[in-house]
């Protein structure tokens, strides 16, 4: 069988062209991103906490004795009084229950990342689908989804989570799902819908429809990929709100989690060290600063991605 593959063989194959284009736009966007500076700062802080999270299991398996350094059930037998000030063995001291603060900090960093990532993925999946469907179908579906979004936007998230924690057991997984639903059907969905509105009127959607593309096919293959840059941007903001909500709820003692930065401050508070900021700084600052730094670095990253994605904010 003779198949004429001549021109294809001479020309670079399709995926290579696509890869090249993607590479070029990535390069362009990266240089735009570099110019925002604040984004780099955010990225550096995030990398730092990622390293901390990754280093914890390694340290636990090599240098740190499990009985002393376990973040939840460890006890610093080598200190005479708890909470012990920072020393060589415990660089950030120990908490009122004799547990190593640095170990707790590093252990919690991992769950914060997982929580943020999960909440962001749930948000973006729901938000993208809501935005794409609402924009594609319009009419009744659009109205229903947008009215639902109105309610979601209006609801104060922390207050809802506080009430919910009275009704059901809320752990990290439930929290991530709740935040994902709240913001996916709420603000993120609305923003992605407004973007999707400009996508569904493009000629290639019409072309796909006339060539017999199904509804689901058009939404998934033609609409959703065009929403991805913006959804990626909103992932960053969701991570910020997820970490923040987790910290506040576990600070109030309403979450069912083993260890987290918010819980570390809760321990400090319930042991009565909260206003002795000067004498027992290591009980308050490491966890609080970590929450603040990680939240703001994801926010900074989101903002500088916004300047990359949104051409109107670029410098002339």
């Amino acid at each position: 069988m003779i198949v004429d593959t001549g021109p294809v063989r001479n020309a670079p194959s399709l995926w290579r062209v696509r890869l090249g284009l993607a590479g070029r736009s990535l390069k362009q966007n990266w240089s735009l991103f570099l110019r925002t500076r604040i984004g780099i700062l955010g990225l550096v802080i995030i990398c730092f906490y990622m390293l901390l999270a990754l280093a914890h299991p390694i340290l636990m398996n090599t240098v740190w004795d499990e009985r002393i350094y376990d973040p939840v059930i460890g006890f610093a037998f080598d200190e005479t009084q708890q909470p012990a000030p920072p020393s060589l063995a415990h660089p950030l001291g120990t908490d009122p229950l004799g547990r190593d603060i640095l170990s707790q900090l590093m252990f919690s960093a991992r769950s914060e990342f997982l929580l943020g990532l999960l909440a962001a993925v749930v948000t973006v999946c729901i938000g993208t689908m809501v935005g794409a469907t609402a924009a594609y179908f319009g009419g009744l579906i659009d109205m229903l989804l947008m009215r639902l979004a109105d309610i979601m936007i209006m609801m104060p998230g922390i207050s809802i989570l506080i009430v919910l924690s009275a009704l059901i057991e809320v752990g990290h997984l439930e929290l991530a799902l709740l935040i994902g639903i709240l913001s996916g059907f709420g603000g993120t969905g609305v923003v992605l819908k407004s973007q999707a509105l400009s996508v569904v009127v493009k000629p290639y959607i019409e072309a796909a429809r006339t060539s017999g593309g199904g509804t689901l096919h058009i939404i998934l293959v033609h609409v959703v990929p065009n929403l991805l840059p913006l959804s990626f941007l909103y992932m960053m903001f969701t991570v910020t709100s997820a970490i923040f909500s987790e910290a506040v709820l576990s600070f109030l003692g309403l979450l069912d989690v083993r260890m987290s930065w918010g819980l570390m401050i809760h321990t400090t508070e319930s042991a009565g060290y909260l206003l002795q900021v000067g004498e027992y700084w290591w009980l308050i600052f490491p966890a609080s600063l970590s929450i603040t730094l990680l939240c703001s670095s994801f926010y900074l990253l989101g903002r500088s991605l916004d300047e990359v994605v949104n051409p109107r904010l670029r410098r002339t």
Partner: protein, 382 residues
């Protein structure tokens, strides 16, 4: 305009209905009913439990319970609080709602002006160190771990410096033989604040068409005079020292809430300004030879205001959440602190009642912001 308001009010009523439904089914989604709260008590015979179930109406079919719940909520009957036992939920809320309103409204208005003013300035000087420091500072304040920030404020200004009291609503020593109770004084203060803000708003509205310098002078003058008159009335009323005590307790929470929420407005104003600056009419205004300040405030900022007001609606929920946290940190006995305390002590009627009111409050604030937006933007007529 009137048709628009009516339409919005109808929508809000519908949303309230949906909201109440969600709350009801959330509460009922958990296993068991309210008599289970006493199920740990071994002395409770089955007959008593059945009687209790009948009393609370939990053995009725769900739809009937739902209708009763709707009727009770709409008539203001929210049940009896468990933790503050003989008091009804409505009574507790009636006492605490004004306290939250003052905290929230003051902080929102101040942070809006502060954020808008600063945003204007940093957008105008793009690229300098001013922009970087204010963006960084703004983002840090916006995403700061609020309980810690509140704590630092208490520690610095109340604990170390001793300028303000540490948390709470009033100082019992001052109030020992006060001629009137705290709620009366506080409601009077609330009324004063409302009068003052109406005056301020009217002044801004009337002077907005005047020339820039004159408008500024008029605004400052009239506001200063009215503040002086109000201060004089309070000083001569005999309960002025009591009001002053409450004011002293209010300063720190309001300052904290303002600091955490102004940055959102500031960053958004900056972005919105950057988009408007490129318009042709800004170039035209400059070409006319108008002073920079007039171009900035009258031509760019006026038009940059619209998206900021829109997002202001979105940020209401943020401010309320901030308020909930700030209130529990400062032991300010408002709705937020009540919500947290009721949840921690598993006082379900109070928690749900407070939550319903917080939701209602957000809905009303939303409506107000929508109407304001329709007024500001003549293009909005839907």
């Amino acid at each position: 305009m009137a048709a628009y308001i009516v339409k919005r009010v109808l929508q809000i009523v519908l949303t309230l209905f949906v909201f109440l439904t969600i709350v009801f089914f959330l509460v009922n989604a958990q296993p068991g009913d309210i008599s289970r709260l006493y199920s740990l008590d071994p002395n409770l015979p089955p007959e008593t439990r059945a009687q209790m179930q009948e009393l609370f109406g939990v053995n009725e079919p769900l739809w009937k319970q739902y209708l009763v719940h709707l009727k009770n909520t709409l008539t203001g009957d929210l049940g009896v609080s468990f933790s503050l036992y003989p008091r009804t939920v409505a009574d507790v809320i009636k006492e605490r709602l004004p306290r939250t309103l003052v905290l929230f409204l003051t902080a929102t208005v101040v942070s809006f002006y502060l954020g808008f003013g600063l945003g204007k300035i940093i957008a105008w000087r793009r690229g300098g160190w001013v922009e970087y420091t204010s963006t960084l500072g703004g983002v840090t304040l916006y995403t700061v771990f609020t309980p810690w920030f509140g704590l630092m404020m208490i520690w610095l200004f109340a604990f170390k410096a001793g300028w303000f009291p540490i948390g709470k609503f009033l100082d019992p020593v001052v109030w020992q033989d006060a001629p009137s109770d705290a709620n009366t004084v506080f409601n009077l203060m609330l009324a004063t604040a409302v009068v003052l803000s109406v005056i301020t708003f009217t002044v801004f509205l009337v002077t907005s068409k005047k020339r820039l310098g004159m408008a500024r002078a008029l605004q400052a003058g009239i506001i200063a005079v009215s503040v002086l008159i109000v201060a004089g009335v309070w000083l001569s009323s005999g309960v002025g020292y009591l009001a002053w005590d409450i004011v002293k307790h209010m300063v720190l929470p309001i300052a904290t809430l303002t600091l955490i929420s102004f940055a959102g407005t500031m960053l958004l104003t900056r972005n919105s300004m950057l988009e408007v600056i490129r318009e042709d009419y800004v170039l035209a205004a400059r070409a006319k030879g108008l002073p920079e300040k007039a171009v900035r405030d009258r031509h760019v900022a006026r038009n940059a205001l619209l998206p900021v007001v829109t997002s202001f609606v979105f940020s209401l929920a943020f401010a309320i959440d901030g308020g909930v946290i700030i209130e529990s940190i400062f032991s300010w006995p408002g709705m937020g602190q009540t919500l947290v305390a009721a949840t921690v002590s598993e006082d379900l009627p109070l928690a749900v009642g407070t939550f319903v009111f917080v939701g209602l409050f957000v809905l009303l604030a939303h409506l107000a912001a929508d109407i304001l937006y329709a007024y500001l933007d003549p293009r909005v007529r839907y």
